[in-house]
Symmetry: C4
Subunit: 258 residues, 4 copies
Amino acid sequence: MCSPTTENNNNNNDHLVQSSDPNHPANLIPALCAKFWTLGWVTGTGGGASIRSDDLVYLAPSGVQKELMKPDDIYVLSLAAQAQSLDKRQRVYLRSPANYKPSQCTPLFLAAFTKRNAGCCIHTHSHWAVLVTLILETQGAGKDREFMINNIEQIKGFGKGFGKSGNLGYHDTLKIPVIENTAHEEDLTEFLEEAMDKYPDTYAVLVRRHGVYVWGENVHKAKTMCESLDYLFQLAVEMKQLGLPWVTDIEPTVPTRK
Amino acid sequence: MCSPTTENNNNNNDHLVQSSDPNHPANLIPALCAKFWTLGWVTGTGGGASIRSDDLVYLAPSGVQKELMKPDDIYVLSLAAQAQSLDKRQRVYLRSPANYKPSQCTPLFLAAFTKRNAGCCIHTHSHWAVLVTLILETQGAGKDREFMINNIEQIKGFGKGFGKSGNLGYHDTLKIPVIENTAHEEDLTEFLEEAMDKYPDTYAVLVRRHGVYVWGENVHKAKTMCESLDYLFQLAVEMKQLGLPWVTDIEPTVPTRK
Amino acid sequence: MCSPTTENNNNNNDHLVQSSDPNHPANLIPALCAKFWTLGWVTGTGGGASIRSDDLVYLAPSGVQKELMKPDDIYVLSLAAQAQSLDKRQRVYLRSPANYKPSQCTPLFLAAFTKRNAGCCIHTHSHWAVLVTLILETQGAGKDREFMINNIEQIKGFGKGFGKSGNLGYHDTLKIPVIENTAHEEDLTEFLEEAMDKYPDTYAVLVRRHGVYVWGENVHKAKTMCESLDYLFQLAVEMKQLGLPWVTDIEPTVPTRK
Amino acid sequence: MCSPTTENNNNNNDHLVQSSDPNHPANLIPALCAKFWTLGWVTGTGGGASIRSDDLVYLAPSGVQKELMKPDDIYVLSLAAQAQSLDKRQRVYLRSPANYKPSQCTPLFLAAFTKRNAGCCIHTHSHWAVLVTLILETQGAGKDREFMINNIEQIKGFGKGFGKSGNLGYHDTLKIPVIENTAHEEDLTEFLEEAMDKYPDTYAVLVRRHGVYVWGENVHKAKTMCESLDYLFQLAVEMKQLGLPWVTDIEPTVPTRK
């Protein structure tokens, strides 16, 4: 067989992951994942991160120890080539590392890149994210599909939404949709895309009993929103333990300036 | 236009942030912020730190990843030049980094420098600070404006107050005022200044659902008081979870020596 | 006497622990233990790790500070020579470090190597493991001998069992047997072996009020399963504090694909 | 005046703190304190550590940031010279750093060295130690003066007592006396010494609402016992939150071997 995939795998385009620039995606993904490991976000090979640079998408492989990843471990995929693929489940890798399998998170990362034009997508298994979805579960169907919190300063760390300028305000209510987990991570894709359609301004989707996907225009925005969200999830769990509500009705004490 | 600001921005005084001394403010702010990031104080670009050296004030920009800051990212401002500005909200920067915006915390840091002659001011979004203000909120208006704790050894980490020598004693009650958060961080300034007037001896002000501002005569004192305060906030939350009161009436068992 | 043991101890085979390869077991055990110390798994000389490479078993000594261990501190033992020993409690070391005693965990590590053909075995004193056994203890005899959790994504981090390919699924229930602690760690061995016989697919055994033993085909698998398990133990304790059950009956929302 | 103190201060014996050996006390105290800072044991200049080498005692100064200490900051004192001093509160320093004051912990460290022949003494302000003393306080006078825990493996990390060989067993009950805090740290000395007399086998004394002092024959033993104790304090607080008792009556399941 002589498909582009096979050809590319043969000469394998190793130059795509070789750079002395610490901000090159192939260097940045391992550095980010090592940092995320210390935060408990990518424990035991769970979770991960992907970066898009124009048409190219850089992806960590399946099942690696995230704090030990190397640039040589990174997959590279072309969005344009992928779009031309007849089978949506078939990936067209420009570069594949030896001895690895692609991550099951790949179609979820691609959804953020193609539907939201994101430059980076992070997936964590953070305890706080999982606990928030478990706490919501006890509130009965209907109320359990949305995490809401307001009147916390850290909410300002979020943009107003895709294609909108500016960030949320202190009195705004941050809403993060929750989707149910599926037996196979790839099967989450359609539910993630549905949530993106229903919540066009969200930069994150919680996955019940699993974790969270967070994306942003670039690495900086995806990472800082992921940190802010994890902060809010942790705070929400601690508030629950102290019997404090996540949403309150506080009147602005000072008129909001434009 | 030919104002000093524009002139200064043109030649930009980069020498003000270039030093091989690790204790130079332009080197120290990034080092401190990297350390604070590991403590969870400046998650997701929240929080920050500012240092004053005689007339010059060194400030981190808005929206940066605090653990990745570099000396080149630092703003420098002259207190004397600022005092002559007709518009209090207009900042007169001697040096501005490219591609950044000044931090909204700037007027709050300046309040500590001008009203308290502080040499350093730290602003954290620590969970423990936020949780303490949330717990106080449940105690009803009137009781919710002051964090109080006594009979804990770590209280000795605080000075007696601005212009006074010596530290608090074990049996003294540490009181930290709480101000309400505002939609825009700059609008906090007048409330912070009010709290400084009402509590002339305090080295810190809590901001409801937001975090804490802590200052001191120099970096050493601001940092160690901020650590001691965060320790006490964490202890207070843990005491609350265990049903233990923050203020107790313990008689000294040994006569206090002078 | 002129036994192989004595001979080997005399010339002591130091070459067995000298390698410039960071993945050599004598280098890897100290690096792993330093990492585990930061996770709170091997506090105060407790816990440890052992690696098997073909016939050779590499072991940390008793009572060392795990974050300060050096390759020179490592014991080496031959499984073949050990199998020929008449006294099962007598160890036949090819290489012994000066000034140390062998670890009491040795026979437990050997059980994982000989009965499960493991390539690595990790023993932690993690708080979360101990707390899980304490919580189970309150559920009465009969129910206290097995930790069970299901419908959490991280469960997928576990293999289906010794000699089976593939990992557990999201809806599978992870079961970890609990054995009672004994006054002497060596006396745990027979109970650990019994649990291995009763739970042929398990990769871990909890020890009541003590910690956990986790093994795997190689270092990668043992370490990532140990991380996943610690994540689940922590989650289980947090779920208990929030009144959430560890085992739930959730129907798959999407047909499971083969 | 021409006392030995003054003389020694003049030539100041800087050689006593200058060594290229990382295990020299003047190098080891800063390294240990930096590690303890990351554990939350010496937050905000609280806590510290002292090492004795034969007649010489090495001490950190008062009020320093413990993670930034340098060998040049260390005080050195002679036990023999100290013993000849007429005023017990007067310290006879062989070497004093410039611009510092001696630590108020000094007489407490000296008590461990002179009354227990310790080689190292560590003082932490760990949250867990403070919380344990607060929890005990709620149990009423009489029951509040002793922390007790048993049937936890980590108890084996403690020696049987001063001058005795071997460690505690799994079924032994670890008992740590609690003394009341005093307004001045130096005033704790007599109560610490009383507790040492009443509990001749203990290697630690808790100080109510303050922290813990832990000592050992050498640095290794003091540090690992301090780690084990902090582990047990943390576990005890977590057990309290889960409603689990610290002391239980478990019969050995296997006959204890000699």
